[in-house]
Amino acid sequence: MTWRLFSLLGVLAAMAGTPAASADDLTSSPDGPEAVRIYYTEAEALAKVFHKTAEIRAETWVPTDPEREALETRLGRKVPETDFVLHRGTKDGEDLGWAVVLQEKGRFKPITFMVHVKPDGEVGLVLVMVYRESRGDGVKRQRFLKQFRGRDVEDPLRMNRNVVGVSGATLSSRALTAGVRKALVLGDIHPGGTP
């Protein structure tokens, strides 16, 4: 009986010890030291969204002024990036689609993630690569991210409309939703259609 009680207390203590922001952390030093969690490097993420043996070609796209204007008009917001690195994957001559690494601000810090778009223009896999906030990393789970699979550029992607956010990570959920939408519009505006 006693060991059961101690085991339970041990589990609770371990959970309490995981990074968490106290009320003071949030109010007095909200932009404090980063709690960086790297889940995937770029190479690992590319291997996961395509295939370990896939041939990957990277292309840096610098949108022209009219392209940037079209991008901002379609997204309804300013786009701070000056260029985008688009990765196209092929395996045995088969087109596996393309992927882009984006960053969107969560609460205070940017979230780095990869969006994979299949050749038919639908979202494939979305992976959170780096999460920097002290809490809210529930958005890294596929339970949330798989909602984006199969969505295309015609889908408006709105939090609390057709995307359900993660409880306690509203801003991170919204950042990822906006980021996936950005990736889809990028693919639509890229010269010559999908990159």
Binding site: M15, A23, G76, G168
Partner: protein, 223 residues
């Protein structure tokens, strides 16, 4: 058994049933609150509305996660493509400069210089956010002044925020913040809310099976 003992026993039984009902309600509502997605998406409520002072028929309205424009005085509305529209819009204000619109959400401040077509995230003072949402927006010398529950901040020329005043959090505020964390499981890592889910389900199962077993036992006794 004496009459006194019977009364105590009956009262205990009645109170136990009442407490079991309360615990069941607490466990199930707690579980439901942790998973807002179970109830679908919130309804389309007009939260904030503002008329363009330069063109009388042009209106903007912000509902949760949606921004819409009307060019016919509000008869028809068109969705504006802002995928990061605030979940809790608080104020929608047309600025003095033509085309300038400010949209304050509980956790963000956006500005558009072209009448609402393209928005830019200005960012709120670091003290404001989900724990302390922004509550009001006004302008001082052309610069935004944002208020929250515990103070107000104005934007400086370089885009930073200066604190105008701060009301320190009382012991009660801190206690309430901790109670909230304790109740929702947001005091530890990402696993704690899931543990709360498990505890809620286990509690609900225990209460229901306990009630069933109690009812069976009572039935057997009556026989």
């Amino acid at each position: 058994m004496s009459r006194g003992r019977t009364v105590v026993r009956e009262s205990h039984h009645g109170l136990g049933l009442l407490a079991a009902g309360g615990i069941l309600l607490l466990a199930l509502t707690g579980l439901a609150l942790q998973h807002p997605g179970w109830f679908g998406h919130p309804g389309q409520r007009a939260i904030v509305l503002s008329a363009d002072p330069n063109t009388g028929d042009r209106l903007l309205r912000a509902t949760p996660a949606l921004l819409e424009v009307s060019t016919d005085g509000g008869d028809t509305w068109q969705d504006l493509p802002l995928s990061a529209a605030p979940d809790h819009p608080v104020r929608l204000v047309f600025g003095d400069v033509p085309g300038e619109v400010w949209l304050l959400g509980g956790t963000e401040l956006l500005v558009s210089r072209d009448g609402g077509r393209i928005w830019e995230d200005v960012g709120l003072p670091p003290d404001l956010g989900p724990q302390q949402p922004a509550t009001d927006l006004t302008f001082q010398g052309g610069y935004p002044l944002v208020a929250g529950r515990s103070g107000a901040w104005y934007q400086t020329v370089d885009g930073g925020w200066e604190n105008l005043w701060t009301t320190p959090a009382s012991r009660g505020d801190n206690a309430r913040a901790w109670l909230y964390r304790l109740h929702t499981g947001h005091w530890g890592g990402g696993l704690v809310p899931r543990l709360y889910d498990l505890v809620a389900v286990a509690t609900a199962i225990l209460v229901v099976t306990g009630l069933i077993m109690g009812a069976r036992r009572a039935r057997r006794r009556r026989r």
